[in-house]
């Protein structure tokens, strides 16, 4: 720790701090454009100039280390002044230069109202320009469907270049030319290839990069901001839903150091137009093979009629990937009341089960814990597609220091180097026998074995899990204080569903068995759109979008999307989080738990709660860990290994394939989104075609 005096305040900071960080620690505010605490230091905007006693000129505080400061003549701590006239004049000079070429188009700029340059010009700008030449004019560039460019506004902070090169790991952006002719562009204006690319528009301190889908749509001050949780993948990124009236205008990241830091994936950000398209806004009833709009009463009556004489063993329920814990709890309660053991939240047919312990389906090391791992083995997962934020964290760890990464599964670009160990279970067995990478894992103090949820959904899932368990035990992945077994889920609802036991009861059918022809008479489908239901059963679909599930349905009950309800979601780490209602559901759609509560009354098994708090009281009484928001209740790792090792069966030789073939189209909301379709057509379709 080093002492330093900032504006007469003495602070004690680590020697590796920069002056800017030390000034912030002392409570002084330093303006900046190029500096960003999660990116490397560029030091090129010069806005953060401060006066350092003993230095002949003002120094750029972002690029000046505390340990580089000289002490005073009598050994006093170095002195920094951030409010002196010299500092103000220096920053005013910098601002004047920045504004020389910056167009005066704030009234038509989408960054207006949340623009760093605008804000800082209020403090350091002058009211008129002394520049009488022509301003620089730069052609706008195409860099993809998500980010709009207005290159006249660029101040060359290079945050975007550093982000795509360092965090996203897909170095598409660069600066061509030099000096006044410097331009930010991709190579020959190709689209950026990262699934985190839209973050560059958040990073842009001016209006040069803005969100293309939101261009000219609204002003930040007219939006109602609701903190919420993302459900596009199982990461549970913290987001802010900005709404105007009944419409969700955009989604922005919220900082959560343990989950998404301050990034979100493109799907998380730009699926929002899907919330308005293809929505189910009233109940539907199938008559003579065609769906017709109906009233709630008609729909409920039809369901009650079907359930009346039905054998409880031939009634079942499947919960989809976007369902919140509350409605799954309500549906589970209803099915229990009906006497049916056929419930499942694993529409992909996964064998992950609460029977193996909570640790058997969690990302036990936690996402932040990735940074502590010293060897990583990825089995049957493509984290870049299944959880882009987790992949960014893996890349961050890989950049911090040497990290041996091994992959058994698909050979894809993960944005970091890895040793490719093979495609399928045979390679896994080969690895367990010995070899260089096994030695690396064994010698590692905290090895992390990342298991894709997809491998548990294979027909031979149990055998593969057993193999993983024996490997994990052999390399010491589960020790006192470290559980390196990391199951990467890809559905937002999955951990919550497994937590409350939304799995088949005694003698109950699992999801793949339920959808087989002739298995059931009545199937309640709670937003499961990724499972094909055979003809025969009477299907009740409760969901938000007119997707595959709705097409197969006999009765459609319109529910609320995650932005329209307060719902509990448990992310892949086991962290309990809640969404908040930003807007109301469209039309006659209702919150899902309320629909189920109303339906239970009609079918004669009234559920014992009349409000969301009452439902949650019941839920929390049964599962106390769900009451602790933003907390992780850890499972027993050793018990999981034992339970998995006991699973038998023989593995096939088929290679592991990620369940997420198309990153942009994984759920009904994203499939309804035009922007996601455009991204998919741009990035995924050519890749798939090339692979064939």
């Amino acid at each position: 720790m080093t002492k330093i005096i900032v504006d007469d305040v003495e602070v004690d900071v680590p020697a590796d701090y920069t002056l800017l960080q030390a000034c912030e620690a002392a409570g002084a505010e330093i303006p900046r454009f190029c500096f960003h605490e999660r990116l490397s230091i560029a030091g090129n905007c010069r806005m953060c100039l401060v006066e350092l006693k003993g230095a002949p000129k003002p120094v750029a505080s972002c690029a000046w280390g505390v340990r580089d400061c000289r002490p005073g003549p009598n050994g006093e701590p170095p002195t920094v002044v951030t409010k002196s006239p010299m500092v103000k004049k220096a920053r005013e000079g910098v601002m004047e230069f920045l504004l020389i070429n910056h167009p005066l188009d704030c009234p038509i700029c989408d960054q207006g109202g949340e623009c760093d340059l605008q804000d800082q010009a209020m403090a350091y700008g002058v009211d008129s320009s002394r520049f009488h030449e022509n301003k620089r004019a730069v052609p706008d560039k195409y860099i993809g469907p998500l980010v709009k460019t207005s290159m006249n506004r660029c101040i060359h902070c290079t945050r975007c270049i550093r982000f795509v090169a360092e965090v996203a790991g897909v170095p598409d952006l660069g600066a061509t030319g030099r000096g006044e002719d410097m331009e930010i562009t991709t190579y020959l204006e190709r689209a950026m290839g990262s699934e985190l690319q839209a973050n560059v528009a958040d990073l842009c301190p001016v209006g040069a990069l803005t969100h293309k889908p939101q261009a000219f749509n609204g002003r930040p001050w007219e939006l109602i901001k609701t903190p919420s949780i993302d459900v596009m993948d199982a990461v549970g990124s913290n987001i802010r839903v900005d709404a105007r009236g009944r419409e969700v205008m955009r989604v922005l990241p919220r900082v959560h150091e343990d989950i998404n830091e301050e990034w979100i994936s493109d799907k998380t950000r730009q699926h929002v137009d899907g919330l308005k398209l293809q929505r189910l806004d009233r109940p539907f009833l199938r008559e003579n093979g065609r769906l017709r709009p109906a009233t709630w009463a008609e729909a409920f009556a039809a369901i009650a009629a079907k359930l009346k004489g039905a054998d409880p063993k031939r009634v079942g329920a499947i919960a989809g990937d976007l369902a919140a814990v509350e409605e799954m709890w309500a549906l589970r309660s209803l099915m229990t009341a009906l006497g049916s053991p056929n419930i499942d939240c694993r529409q992909d047919g996964s064998v992950l089960s609460p029977a193996h312990g909570r640790a058997s389906y969690l990302f036990n090391p936690t996402i932040a814990g990735i940074e502590e791992a010293d060897a990583v083995l990825i089995v049957g997962a493509n984290p870049r597609r299944e959880a882009a934020i987790v992949n960014a964290r893996l890349r961050k760890r890989w950049r911090i220091g040497p990290l041996p990464v091994g992959v058994v599964g698909e050979r894809v670009d993960l944005t970091y180097d890895y040793a490719y160990l093979g495609a399928g279970p045979e390679s896994l067995a080969q690895l367990a026998k010995g070899g260089e990478f096994l030695d690396l894992l064994k010698s590692a103090e905290r090895p992390l074995i990342l298991v894709g949820a997809g491998i548990a959904a294979r027909p031979d899932g149990a055998a593969v899990l057993a193999a993983v368990a024996s490997l994990a035990a052999a390399v010491g992945a589960v020790t006192e204080g470290w559980n390196g077994l990391a199951v990467l889920q890809n559905a937002a609802s999955r951990v919550g569903g497994l937590d409350i036991g939304f799995v088949p009861g005694e003698g109950g059918l699992a999801a793949p068995a339920m959808v087989e022809a002739g298995a059931l008479d009545v199937l309640f489908n709670l937003g499961a759109d990724e499972i094909a239901i055979s003809p025969g059963a009477f299907v009740i679909y409760q969901g938000t979008h007119g997707d595959d599930g709705a097409h197969r349905a006999d009765v459609i009950l319109p529910g609320a999307a995650y932005t329209e309800k307060s719902g509990t979601y448990v992310n892949t780490e086991g962290r309990v989080q809640q969404t908040n209602r930003a807007v109301f559901p469209p039309g006659e759609a209702r919150e899902d738990w309320a629909i189920l509560r109303a339906l239970s009354d009609v079918v004669g098994h009234r559920l014992p709660f009349d409000s969301l708090p009452a439902l949650r009281r019941e839920l929390h009484a049964a599962h106390p860990h769900l009451a602790a928001l933003d907390e992780i209740a850890a499972g027993d790792g050793r018990a999981t290994l034992d339970a998995w090792a006991a699973l038998g069966g023989s593995a096939s030789s088929a290679g592991f394939v990620s369940p997420v073939a198309d990153f942009y189209l994984t759920n009904p909301i994203a499939r309804a989104s035009r922007i996601m379709a455009e991204c998919s057509a741009l990035h995924v379709t050519p890749a798939l075609e090339a692979a064939e």
Partner: protein, 359 residues
């Protein structure tokens, strides 16, 4: 310099690959750098590609270099567009780079530019026969032979419009040309008779080494000189001091007198009026506790004819004055100056600025 972009598609070749000889050369270049630093070879590789491809870099060459070094293409494009020595558009067989920086400019590069404009046309434009194109560049570092230009790899110096026309004619006709000075001069030796070292003054110490002699003389100081220079000497007896402050008699004394007494501030001030005592700014007045100038008086001050009136108000308005006057400060006993100076009349003790007013 202007924005540099890749050549239009119609000029781009369909493919590019290094010749076998260049491949071997590239391998040697890459081997120079440690493992994982192969990207360091990007500039030599681009240069070799440009040499191989008629003096300019096509898009395919940039991509080939990127693929060879495992770099993102945009990184190679950054380098290629940054350095103006990489030509991104086709150039003539003789690619002329005319120096237009100051020394060449004063020696007549504008005339050469006119010749090129008439003979070849606009910059970065290849003549119909493919022989010539030209570009004005910044200093090529041969100012002693200005004006000059570079054709492909060679410098052609000491040019005049006529010599340049002849040079271009020779090149176009395929005649041999000689790089270097074109006016018969050898390298950068004097053009006329060589007599630089024949001046006797060079060797008698009057020209060369005179500085050192001055410093040697300064080191040996007599007490009289030291006193005259204003240093602290215990006063022996009141001496008739000069009426005004000691005026430096020689340049040497002035140098020693002003040096240590007027240290340069360790930190430059921000240049604001209140930091500088040199100006009579409102901010400075406020700092020294003076009354601000009333608006009416400011208006008066701008009108010379009303100046009389302002003096009759009875309030003595101090004239602008400066502590950093170029006049030497009158000596004061407290500062160790000769005591006799304290006996001087009031008028001469006052700062010069004020004394003007009293006159």
């Amino acid at each position: 310099m202007s924005v540099r972009r890749l050549a239009p598609a119609e000029d781009q070749p369909a493919s590019f690959s290094f010749t076998e000889e260049n491949e071997r050369w590239i391998e040697k270049q890459i081997a120079k750098y440690p493992d994982g630093r192969q990207a360091s070879a990007v500039i030599p590789m681009l240069w070799q590609a440009q040499k191989q491809h008629d003096g300019w870099l096509p898009q395919r060459a940039i991509e080939a270099v990127a693929a060879r070094l495992g770099m993102p293409v945009i990184r190679v494009l950054e380098v290629a567009t940054f350095y103006t020595m990489f030509n991104l558009e086709p150039v003539g067989r003789w690619f002329i780079q005319l120096c237009g920086t100051v020394p060449c400019h004063v020696k007549g590069s504008l005339d050469l530019k006119q010749v090129l404009l008439e003979r070849i046309g606009d910059q970065q434009h290849v003549t119909a026969d493919g022989n010539f194109s030209w570009l004005e560049v910044e200093c090529l570092g041969a100012c002693c032979n200005a004006p000059m230009l570079q054709i492909n790899d060679d410098y052609y110096e000491d040019l005049t419009p006529d010599l340049l026309i002849k040079l271009l004619d020779d090149l176009a006709a395929g005649r041999e040309v000689k790089p270097g000075p074109q006016n018969g001069r050898h390298a950068s030796e004097p053009h006329d008779a060589v007599k630089t070292l024949q001046d006797p003054a060079l060797f008698d110490g009057s020209l060369v080494g005179s500085w050192r002699k001055r410093f040697e003389q300064q080191d040996v100081k007599t007490p009289d000189e030291a006193k005259a220079a204003g240093e602290v000497v215990p006063p022996k007896a009141p001496e008739p001091a000069p009426a005004a402050a000691p005026t430096p008699q020689t340049e040497k004394q002035a140098a020693t007198a002003t040096g240590p007494n007027d240290p340069k501030p360790g930190r430059p001030d921000a240049g604001r009026p209140e930091h500088s005592a040199a100006a009579d700014a409102p901010a400075q007045r406020a700092k020294s506790g003076e009354e601000p100038v009333a608006a009416a008086k400011q208006a008066d001050a701008s009108d010379a004819s009303s100046k009389e009136g302002s003096e009759t108000t009875g309030e003595p308005v101090p004239a602008p004055q400066s502590e950093k006057s170029e006049e030497p400060t009158p000596s004061r006993p407290s500062e160790g100056k000769p005591a006799a100076a304290a006996d001087e009349p009031e008028a001469s003790k006052a700062p010069r600025g004020r004394s003007k007013e009293t006159e």
